[in-house]
Chain length 308, copies 2
């Protein structure tokens, strides 16, 4: 595993994710490189500067400042909401040093890669897509932690155009935060997270929606207990964020929704036919898998594995 | 609220539910009436006798014993698995005193009422269907607790044939355990629990089933995190129990499944059309309702309310 160091890291959007990377590299890995934060305005990154999370703040709309901070940058991290990836890359492109490696932290990847190809053209070779699987209930740079990424997965979705050196460099940066780096294609990434994260959120929102539209809604809520509580915990998530995820990962999510509807139709047929054996067999294998998953732990053990 | 007392209570199936009622009436309410436990054999209720939860044990297959224990019984409680309700009532019928009130503790009601009508004929007037909403992870009489029902809901589903006195008597018995008694029709009961309990279990089993059948199953499980964990906690539930619930509450569950499929189809159409406004509006109202439910608490406050 190559040791990691950097001379200049530029972070676009210094909130929980970008701020935690900065703190991890400085406080956990003890690295001395310069860290620059760029916000819509200098004021929006002033708090990060005040907290000492970054060494310098720059405003996105200032050509001179942008040219100066991007000159000689080793790494650029996009840590703003996913929908801003395309506009940000278009803004960066004219000032992008040929030796800089650009990466991101978006929770969907196919849409970000498409936006990067459009914004960067042939220079998309400099863009190594990534997704750190970490978060907290609170957001903003005040919530940033130096150990947010310890033993968390970071997925890299390298492009065919990326050089092995650039991929290794981004992997080394994330490993320096304590994360486990794994690789998969952007399509595979989007399928995996559509299945285990995006779909359950939609299903949970849908159950509450269904009850709200039923004539007995109040009565039902008054008798809802532990099963309902666990099942719908994620229905209290941010509507804006999940709207964006659904749209950004539309194709993969639609495929998962269709697969799920087919499973439900199969279960429905077994219930309709009073086929107890089929129901018990299906429930039993789900139970075994769920218990095995719980015992393995939700967190992948430290150590890197390239996912197939 | 009428004070409750009894001379003789006969419990068929002295496990967690039946044993907790016996302990609550004796230890919590301080009532002195005789409590008889009936099992498939005298041995199966020997443990309840040994623990002092019941005063006398009888075997179901012993006509003489059954006639003796049912003579002069104020109340009979069926606390065996729901599927045994019909056979048990048929077994009890020849020995049933005209002044005895029979009740049950089954988690589905329409099927139990149908079985009671068949087994008891005109004497179904003596049967007051009930469902205490309480449980523990462990089962059996050793797990029985005197306070299992404190501030828990007990749903009564009175029949048109029941007398007001008999209904009041069963309500008073449950109130003596500390429970909140609520009334609804058996059809309404089955719809409510199909919606807030049975359907979420099926949906949770279905998500794990879907992942198991996908080519990327291992990869998906390895990236599943907190949302998946909460959503699928109930997929570790007993396959046998949930098979029985699905079959016993088949009609109501099928109706809920169809409603849910329609909600999912609506969400799918919004995602397919990239209709962010519709998605955000649906997610936002679900979130508001889920948070309001959480703040009210899952448990209905003490005090009785007849549900409409």
């Amino acid at each position: 595993m190559a040791a990691f160091s950097f001379n200049k890291l530029v972070i676009f959007g210094v909130g929980l994710i970008g701020g935690s990377l900065a703190r991890a590299l400085r406080e956990r890995a003890g690295l001395a490189g310069r860290i620059v934060g760029v916000g819509r305005s200098a004021a929006s990154v002033a708090r990060a500067l005040e907290l000492g999370v970054i060494d310098e703040a720059a405003a996105l709309d200032d050509d001179t400042a942008l040219a100066r901070v991007l000159e000689g940058a080793d790494i650029v991290l996009l840590a703003a909401p996913v929908a801003q990836s395309g506009p940000l890359l278009a803004r960066i492109a004219p000032f992008l040093d040929a030796r800089t490696v650009v990466t991101d932290a978006g929770s969907t990847k196919s849409d970000v890669v498409a936006a990067a190809r459009e914004a960067l053209g042939a220079r998309v070779a400099q863009f190594v897509p990534a997704h750190p699987i970490a978060g907290r209930e609170s957001s903003g740079v005040d919530a940033a932690l130096p150990d947010l990424y310890v033993e968390r997965n970071v997925v890299l979705c390298p492009l065919a155009e990326n050089t092995a050196d650039d991929i290794a460099r981004i992997a080394a940066m994330w490993r320096a935060t304590g994360a486990c780096v794994r690789e998969m294609s952007e399509a595979q990434h989007d399928r995996v997270f559509a299945s285990v994260s995006h779909l359950p959120h939609v299903l949970s929102f849908a159950l509450v929606d269904q009850i709200l539209d039923s004539p007995d809604a109040e009565l039902k809520f008054s008798f809802a207990a532990g099963g309902f509580r666990d099942f719908t915990r994620i229905a209290a998530s941010s509507p804006e964020m999940w709207r964006d995820v659904c749209l950004a990962n539309r194709a993969a999510l639609l495929a998962e929704l269709d697969d799920y509807a087919a499973v439900l139709a199969r279960f429905r047929a077994a219930i309709d036919a009073s086929d107890g054996a089929a129901l018990e067999a299906a429930f039993a294998r789900s139970r075994v898998a769920r218990k095995a998953w719980q015992e393995r732990g939700a967190i992948t053990p430290p150590g890197d594995s390239a996912a197939k």
